[in-house]
Symmetry: C2
DNA sequence: CTCCAGTTGCAACACAAATGCATTTGCGTG
DNA sequence: CACGCAAATGCATTTGTGTTGCAACTGGAG
């Protein structure tokens, strides 16, 4: 955990902006998550005694996104999710969303880019590819239990 | 307009569920739109004298989605958008989102599907490809204002 | 140490969407 | 063709995510 905090501090310091407790702790949570987290998930993983405000978490996440340290993506449940920008991913990597537990994680970039044809006059700046399905845990779980309502 | 309503009625009747005014009118609006509409846009296009409630529009749109008549997708602004499921599109077609005006429309399917590699144990059921950029109108508009001098 | 722009906390707000419940309505049945 | 009832609707209220205005605080430069 402390490892993530020092990494977080280094990343934040490299932006030239202020190194504050909230920024370090929020980024450390994202670094330790290994997947995209919602604002609520980030808040829940912060030590309560730190006393970091809900709004501050929003603003830190927004700040991280602007500095290209984190990546902001919209899920199917109209909730923002944030993940640390891993090295080599230019922000164009595809994401996987689990239909059962809602987990979101980043996938390795595909070798080829699909590039659908656009109508005339249209201009593409970026592309987001989202693969939906079952993650390993939910896949295993659903295989074990025959019929069950989904979450 | 009336043409869309009769098409809508046929589609709704084919589900075996009830054919109600709200369902016919809402679906007719979607059929005539040619692009994905938000709940608000649908509501705005309904004749006010029909007196269709806001909540009813939500429920009809949800019902249309469940019956696979409409397609529900989430934009970057955390607002649901609904489009009629066109024939031949298995719900796998890519979408285009305009960064300026927020318009969403369906694109023709690409020749090949990219299929990024998934981690072990993961299972893919569907995929959503969203292309972001500027639509024809906004593209033209930004080109004109840029030529007029920078702001 | 002092200062102050950049941050944070707090409260109040904005807004899409969901829910509980009473009322209405489509449509199969007698 | 009237009747009955589950499905559908209208209305008020609630939920949950995210935003904003403003006062108080603080990191770090000097």
């Amino acid at each position: 955990m402390k490892d993530f905090e020092s990494t977080a501090e280094t990343l934040i310091r490299s932006t030239g902006d202020r190194v504050t407790g909230a920024r370090v702790h929020v980024l450390a949570v994202l670094l330790g998550a290994g997947r995209a987290l919602t604002h609520n998930e980030v808040e829940a993983r912060l030590e309560p005694e730190l006393g970091i405000n809900r709004v501050t978490v929003y603003r830190v996440l927004e700040w991280l996104t602007q500095r290209n340290i984190a990546h902001k993506l919209s899920g199917e449940d109209r909730v923002w999710r944030f993940s640390v920008q891993e090295q080599g991913h230019g922000g164009q990597h595809p994401h996987f969303v689990c239909n059962a537990c809602g987990r979101v994680l980043c996938l390795a970039d595909s070798d080829e880019s699909p590039k659908p044809r656009l109508p005339v006059g249209f201009q593409s700046t970026e592309m987001e590819l989202t693969v939906k399905g079952l993650c390993d845990a939910c896949n295993e779980h659903s295989r074990r239990t025959a019929a069950r309502g989904k979450k």
